[in-house]
Amino acid sequence: MNIERQEIEKLATLARIAIDDSTISDVSQRLSSVLDLVDQLQAVNTEGVEAMSHPMQATQRLREDEVTEINQREAFQAIAPETEDGLFLVPKVIE
């Protein structure tokens, strides 16, 4: 199986990972070899088999809608790349 250059570019955009032009064929080749491995699954008959997401069939627990966490804005912002007035700063989005 071979992944086309165009498809790699689309994946890179979806995953927000910049891929250097010079490495695209290398990335494509490695991804293809992994997809060849996982394509073995296509031959398996899974008709009527239920998909499994948790081994113990656990369901999501619910809790009372109460505030349980204290505000730790300062602690969280102390490790942020850039902040101002209690806000996280990112490059300008709207001109």
């Binding site: 990972i17 992994v34 997809l35 996982v38 899974t46 499994m52 948790h54 627990r61 969280f76 490059p91």
Partner: protein, 485 residues
């Protein structure tokens, strides 16, 4: 002191044979002098360790000290430690200092353990050789030109080199058992949901599980007693009483039915490994256990299913690393998209990027059902194999890995060859079952691991059998050259 087990250290501390400060200083000195050769420990918290050791001594003096009071341990650098860098082996988190402790870290603090530092690991736990770490590879204390296994290779090498008597680790597809096998130590991955994942950096959330590493099964039992707990903050944690795993270690293995899957002894298994594992099985048979040949027919599908599910979940989990709120941000981003994509391509290593791309592919429109949906169905088939097997046996045993520790670079260029390293370990993660590895011999002068797979929440029985095996053999006592003196 570094040759004593945790059980022996607890006795020594309680009888005041040595103090926790002496013990802690001794291990810190060992890390200082030996770690440069192994690169197993990437952060040393000496000052904090000595402070908690002094506190432990004060509690020991009064009496009534908690279970692990004064015992030094290391944490895998995937567990968040308040005020101490938690890098997950990645440039992305090289500057990340969490403002909170993981539940596991908190549990050890409550038990009085002394944290010496944090151990090296494959980046975001993605790897079977420790070669993907941003901080450079860990060297196997048994053979410095060979890998220690991964992803918990730093924890395994540190315990093997006696830089600490025990360490925490995590296992998503074999990351506790495979490095334990390659470094000649004991390690247990508990049932999914037994140990809280809160504050443990997420890789593949439906597979990730924390567990302990130590030299003996008895020490693993002592550490698991503290590590396992129900935690409201982890929604997949199972609310079930934690037994005292040390209380049942002495039971006899007489009458125990051990399933030996024929698929785990097929083509591709190293002859030296097979010989050591068969000898271990014969030892248990001589102790009164019964060996039963079983079949796990869908074993061959576990690696393909795993390499859909794990990357898919990883691609979702790792989307949080975008350079906005913490972690690495690229220089001079020209706009928001540029900040996201350059921070991620500069902050993540190649293997992590590869898995994010695979995961994105498997989850993208038009492929979801064919890949993720299909893999989740195959996962069910794998679970059914185990369910059937456990109708007639108590435990399942076989090799942990297909070959002994391999040389650096041997598989790092070929992702598929590296993924096949997990061939005997990933199935238990997919099924959510507990798995363990204990040393059972040597092949090519390198350690061999015996894998023990139990039914759900049967960790006590696994530890019991492992302990009985270790009472009858001394593979777990072997030390790499130059580390026991």
């Amino acid at each position: 002191m570094h040759n004593l087990t945790i059980a022996e250290l607890i006795k020594g501390l309680q009888s005041k044979e040595f103090s926790s400060v002496e013990l802690t200083q001794h291990f810190l000195d060992r890390i200082g002098s030996l770690n440069p050769a192994y690169n197993a420990v990437i952060t040393v918290t000496a000052e904090q360790a000595l402070k908690s050791a002094a506190e432990a001594d004060a509690r020991l003096a009064v009496g009534n000290a908690p279970a692990l009071c004064g015992v030094p341990i290391l944490h895998k650098d995937i567990f968040c430690t308040n005020g101490v860098r938690t890098s997950c082996g990645s440039k992305m988190l090289d500057n990340f200092i969490p403002p909170y402790n993981a539940t596991v870290v908190e549990n050890f603090e409550q038990a009085g353990a002394v944290v010496l530092g944090k151990t090296n690991m494959d980046e975001f736990a993605m790897g079977s050789s420790n070669e993907t770490s941003f901080y450079g590879p860990v060297k196997n204390p048994w053979a410095p030109d060979c890998v220690p296994g991964g992803s918990s290779g730093g924890s395994a090498a540190a315990v093997a080199a006696r830089l600490a008597p025990g360490a925490t680790a995590t296992d998503t597809g074999g990351s506790i058992r495979q490095p334990a096998a390659l470094c000649g130590i004991s390690g247990i991955k508990p049932t999914y949901g037994r140990v809280s994942r809160w504050g443990m950096v997420a890789f593949a959330s439906s597979l990730d599980q924390g567990g302990p590493m130590a030299r003996t099964a008895e020490d693993c039992a002592l550490l698991l007693n503290c590590m396992a707990s129900y935690d409201d903050k982890d929604s997949t944690c199972i609310d079930r009483e934690v037994p005292d795993y040390t209380a049942t270690l002495d039971g006899s293995v007489k009458g125990l039915r051990i399933g030996v899957p024929k698929e785990y002894f097929s083509e591709g298994l190293d002859a030296g490994i097979e010989k050591a594992v068969r000898a271990a099985l014969a030892n248990l048979e001589a102790q009164g256990a019964e060996l039963v040949e079983i079949s796990l027919p869908n074993s061959g599908l576990s690696v393909p299913a795993y390499y859909v599910i794990a990357p898919a979940e990883a691609s979702a989990n790792l989307s949080r690393f975008d350079g906005s709120r913490y972690g690495y941000r690229c220089e001079d981003p020209k706009d928001l998209q540029d900040m996201y994509s350059r921070s991620r391509s500069e902050g993540f290593g190649r293997e992590v990027q590869r898995r994010i791309l695979i995961g994105t592919y498997c989850l993208s429109a038009g492929y979801y059902e064919a890949y993720y949906g299909k893999a989740q169905q195959v996962r069910k088939l794998i679970q059914q194999d185990f369910d059937r097997a456990f109708e007639s046996v108590d435990l399942i045993m076989g090799p942990t890995c297909p070959s002994p520790a391999f040389k650096f670079g041997a598989k790092s260029d070929d992702p598929v060859a590296m993924y096949l390293e997990d061939i005997y370990t990933v199935a238990t993660n997919l099924a959510g079952l507990p798995g363990m590895s204990i040393p059972c011999g040597m092949a090519d002068n390198k350690p061999v691991g015996l894998q023990i797979i139990g039914n759900y929440f049967d960790e006590a029985r696994m530890l019991n059998v492992a302990h009985q095996y270790q009472k009858a053999t001394d593979w777990h006592d072997l030390a790499p050259e130059g580390v026991s003196s």
